[in-house]
């Protein structure tokens, strides 16, 4: 077993991991080691061939692979060491010594030690069994990401007559991709009474291709011997309970599940990091540092982002924090102030702040509101928000002078 060390280890070479890695070099961190499981960098980006990436970060409308390429160039130019085809099997933490990871690849097993670590492993997709779909188990049931990888990386159309489950951005964008490549998308089925994705994606992905969106509908059962033959769908009430008598069958050969993302926190959890139930990601302070000092998190494993630009922003913040940590300049207060999700707010990230600097908060509402206020309760300050939706993350940059007035808790609430 080979042993080696680095100044910082980054696990996961997607957008936030790449941004974290090259930003560490920019900040002046010496040996930066980026570990990636796949044979190439980019995470989900190389298979997201649609445009819409980088509007905030690069001021340009790029496709996923183009955006990934820009980040990868910086990673290479700034001298980050990249380990491809390398699986991180174990992460252990020792107070005073920092982190050590066990990495498996064709080179064998390596143990790598570093005083700090950035965790950017992204998410996995929720599959059919997690959303209560029963019935036969034929071939032709895939998650959206798998279908996307088959089609857009490997050139294989996964089916001809497709039913998409879930109307988040991934489901909508995949529907358009199937339609463009010549498949027939028979319906997008959404259990909630409102669509899960951005409004512009409803327009350009579904309406453009005349794909029906069935709101307040659920897939009850998948039928088929060998291959998917049909799905049974039905209407659901406000409590998402199926309404009997509304069942109908849709013939199809493929079911694509786009029912949300689950942060890949396995290694963090085992290492003893505190996980927040609402985000499914680690609890972090304003430095994006987890409950283990020197272990930072960014990108979708921290909070599911709508825009890649925000994942990159988090990566860059992690890099700044790592530099301060290594230099012994990370100034944590004796007691943290807490950001609390109040009425109609699902979560607020980061969870802890000091009030000693400006801070970016990411938050989501629980239900859609045409016009509402976001109330920072303890500060009696209200921010007007037009068209708040659970699908659209709200990013707030709150200034130091406001945050310093907070005593111990700051509650974020939807008002009106």
């Amino acid at each position: 077993m080979k042993r080696r060390s680095a100044d910082v280890i980054v696990i996961g070479g997607g957008p936030s991991g790449m941004a974290a890695a090259y930003s560490c070099r920019e900040e002046g961190v010496g040996a930066v080691l980026l570990i990636e499981r796949e044979g190439m960098l980019g995470g989900i980006l190389p298979q997201c061939i649609h445009p819409g990436f980088g509007l905030l970060e690069m001021n340009e409308d790029l496709t996923g692979p183009e955006f990934a390429d820009r980040l990868e160039k910086r990673v290479r130019d700034l001298g980050v060491e990249v380990l491809l085809g390398s699986f991180t099997a174990k992460l252990s933490y020792d107070i005073g010594h920092g982190t050590s990871v066990e990495c498996i690849s064709q080179r064998g097993i390596e143990v790598i030690e570093a005083p700090c670590l950035i965790y950017s492993t992204g998410c996995r997709e929720r599959h059919a069994f997690e959303i209560g779909i029963v019935g036969d188990r034929p071939s032709g049931v895939l998650t959206a990401g798998t279908a996307q990888s088959l089609m857009d990386l490997h050139g294989l159309l996964p089916g001809k007559e497709i039913v998409v489950v879930g109307s988040g951005d991934i489901g909508l964008i995949m529907s358009r991709r199937f339609a463009i490549e010549g498949a027939h998308v028979k319906a997008v089925v959404e259990i909630l009474p409102y669509p899960g994705g951005l409004t512009r994606n409803i327009a350009q992905c579904l309406e453009d291709f005349e794909i029906p969106l069935l709101l307040s509908h659920a897939v009850l059962e998948i039928r088929g011997k060998g291959r998917v033959e049909s799905v049974v769908i039905c209407k659901v009430d406000e409590m998402q309970v199926p309404i009997s008598g509304t069942e109908r069958e849709i013939k199809c050969d493929t079911v694509v599940i786009a029912a949300g993302l689950v942060p890949e926190v396995g290694l963090l959890e085992k290492a003893g990091v505190r996980i927040e139930p609402e985000t499914g990601g680690p609890m972090v302070n304003e430095f994006l540092e987890t409950s283990l000092p020197g272990v930072f998190a960014c990108g979708n494993v921290l909070v599911v982002n709508d825009l890649v630009d925000h994942a990159v922003e988090q990566g860059k913040l992690c890099a700044k924090s790592v530099k301060s940590f290594i230099d012994g300049l990370l100034q944590r207060p004796t007691t943290w102030k807490k950001s609390i999700p109040g009425k109609d707010i699902r979560y607020v990230v980061p969870h802890l702040f000091s009030g000693e600097r400006d801070n970016i908060f990411y938050t989501r509402v629980r239900t859609p509101k045409a016009k509402c206020g976001l109330l920072l309760k303890e500060l009696s300050k209200e921010i007007c928000i037009i068209g708040a939706k659970p699908s659209e993350m709200i990013r707030l940059n709150i200034k130091k002078d406001l945050l310093s007035e907070v005593k111990d808790n700051l509650t974020f609430e939807v008002h009106g």
Partner: protein
Amino acid sequence: MTKRSLTCIICPLGCKIEVELSDGKVFNIEGNACDRGLSYAKEECTSPKRVLTTLVRVKGGLLPVTSVKTTKPIPKALIFTVQKELSSIVLEAPLDIGNVVMRNILDTGADVVVTRSIKKVQNYGFVLP
């Protein structure tokens, strides 16, 4: 006079835009947060256009397809025709981002360019560096 409501697709804000039309001509536009929304709404009502992203086959590459895009929006009505045109092309690896696949496709004024670089390999499959 007819009214049309649109969702602006220029940025993630997705403004609801109301357009008043008469004889196919745009009279009044409301609800756009910026000028880009104004020109989008005008164009959407007169000659809707979209950027097309799709795939083109590749021979001898690490992956068997590359992703491509039109360098500017093309008429919506031509999307499937352009797509069909591209389906018969086979490119040779290596490919770089920005390589032109087809110039001025179907006289739209848009080029089709590669958006994912593809390395040349002997055998397609998982290759370690």
